[in-house]
Assembly symmetry: C2
Homo-oligomer: 271 residues x 2
């Protein structure tokens, strides 16, 4: 049974990567709310001999503001432990000398302060939420359709996420919209991009088989990690839906009620 | 050469179907503007022995208001000659006893007056333009994701259209967005649905090989008509782009500068 243990939780395990929204906390009004047991679960992992990193597709705030929110919710987290798409995108843009038109949440803009945005030759979209207006999407479309070689970067490819007042459309939905409008394929920066997961593994100095990803998004967290050779476990919090457990293409290495249960199982198996 | 005549313009031709926006007129502020020569071209067709119908994916106004606009632009057109997606969708909804949540332009709502919209069990989207807000798209998504058997009807599947102030995203883009969000396939009502083209042929009492479609949209007008066995000619007005003439999957039976040229060629070949 899925709940009785996972092959990845053997003694060979050296690091754990945690998704944040839907695993540590549920988003919503204000800071959202910590998921019961998650603050303690992070503490236990930090007290263990396992390495720990956080990996999020959060693109509504800078890493600094995002981490400050998590700290207010009681989590022991620092910016250097958190991997998010915007800094990864900035690295790509600079490497390729690209000047983006940005369709992102206002709160994310400071992440792109160091990037030249004049006379754009590509488009970067994030989870812009309310800023995904017809006007703004049309503007991004106009930039793309006017380029000889249109390039679209998407900060994640999630379908939806859960806020306290219900499910909300995520950036992937608008990525698909622009892909269809311009007849192109976007480049995903963030989960489930293998490049993104690999950068986290590199930071820990681990091989994929030594790491376990825990997330609420079956395709992007669990499937993405498995695609890189890691184990992937899904929690039944956040955007989890019961149909995930009979998904046609992705099967988690384990499914648990929440992060607290996952961490207890991991640590119990090691002792 | 494409401009020297088309196989479909032989004596066997008995009817012509005209797309409207981008063929008769360019949309934009107010009523938009008639494309030079189009008013006279429609007159010439009406004076000929060819049958004539109009086929539009226009979903921002009722057929009555839409036809009134065309009349103000100088066109000799009546409502009974015009085929549009909303009445076709109403027929489908009633036939299957479906109750829609509507994400359409306000001006189209009267077309759905006779349809029960309480406790919706499907979603219908049209070219809602500015009403494609994040909130409204999220609402449509919430309805779909809450259904055991989510059904999405899209009034057309266009990528974009041209207004006097530039290209604008069309309903197909939002159809793709919701398809991805809900992991479903929408049912297209309107062009290029074969059912829709067939209803126009039925009304004329013609076989597909006896009819010619003229449009500015290579995939939905020309490709859709060809898929039904009709000939399809593209005009270099409206949303036409030069790359259409080297499209990977659709090749028009002819390409002409505008409707006036198309009609002159058709009528000259018949005399």
């Amino acid at each position: 049974m899925a709940d009785t243990g996972w092959p990845g939780c053997s003694k060979s395990l050296k690091g754990v990567i945690l998704d944040m929204c839907g695993v540590l906390y549920e988003s919503g009004e204000g800071d959202g709310v910590a998921i019961p047991g998650s603050v303690e679960a992070v503490k236990k992992l930090k007290a263990s001999d396992l390495q720990l990193r956080f990996c999020t597709n959060e693109t509504q705030a800078t890493r600094e503001k995002f981490v400050a929110k998590l700290q207010r919710l009681g989590f022991d987290i620092s910016v250097s432990e958190v991997f998010s798409p915007a800094p990864a995108a900035v690295a790509v843009l600079k490497e390729r000398a690209l000047r983006p038109h940005l369709l992102v949440y206002d709160g994310l803009l400071p992440e792109f302060d160091s990037v030249d945005k004049t006379n754009p030759n590509c488009v970067v979209i994030g989870d812009a939420a309310e800023q995904f207006s017809y006007q703004n999407l049309n503007k991004a479309f106009s930039v793309l359709i006017g380029l000889d070689n249109p390039m679209l970067f998407s900060l994640g490819q999630g379908r939806y996420y859960k806020e306290t007042d219900g499910l909300k459309l995520d950036v992937g939905v608008y990525m698909k919209a622009l892909e269809y409008a311009c007849d192109l394929k976007a480049e995903v920066v963030g989960k489930p991009s293998p490049t993104f997961f690999q950068s986290v593994l590199n930071d820990m100095g681990l091989q994929p088989h030594e790491a376990l990803m825990i997330g609420d998004d079956l395709v992007n967290d669990v499937g993405g990690a498995q695609h890189c050779g890691m184990k992937g476990v899904q929690v039944r919090t956040g955007k989890y839906r019961p149909t995930d457990e009979r998904h046609s293409t992705v099967m988690a290495d384990g499914t648990v009620d929440n992060l607290a249960q996952a961490v207890d199982m991991i640590l119990n198996q090691r002792h």
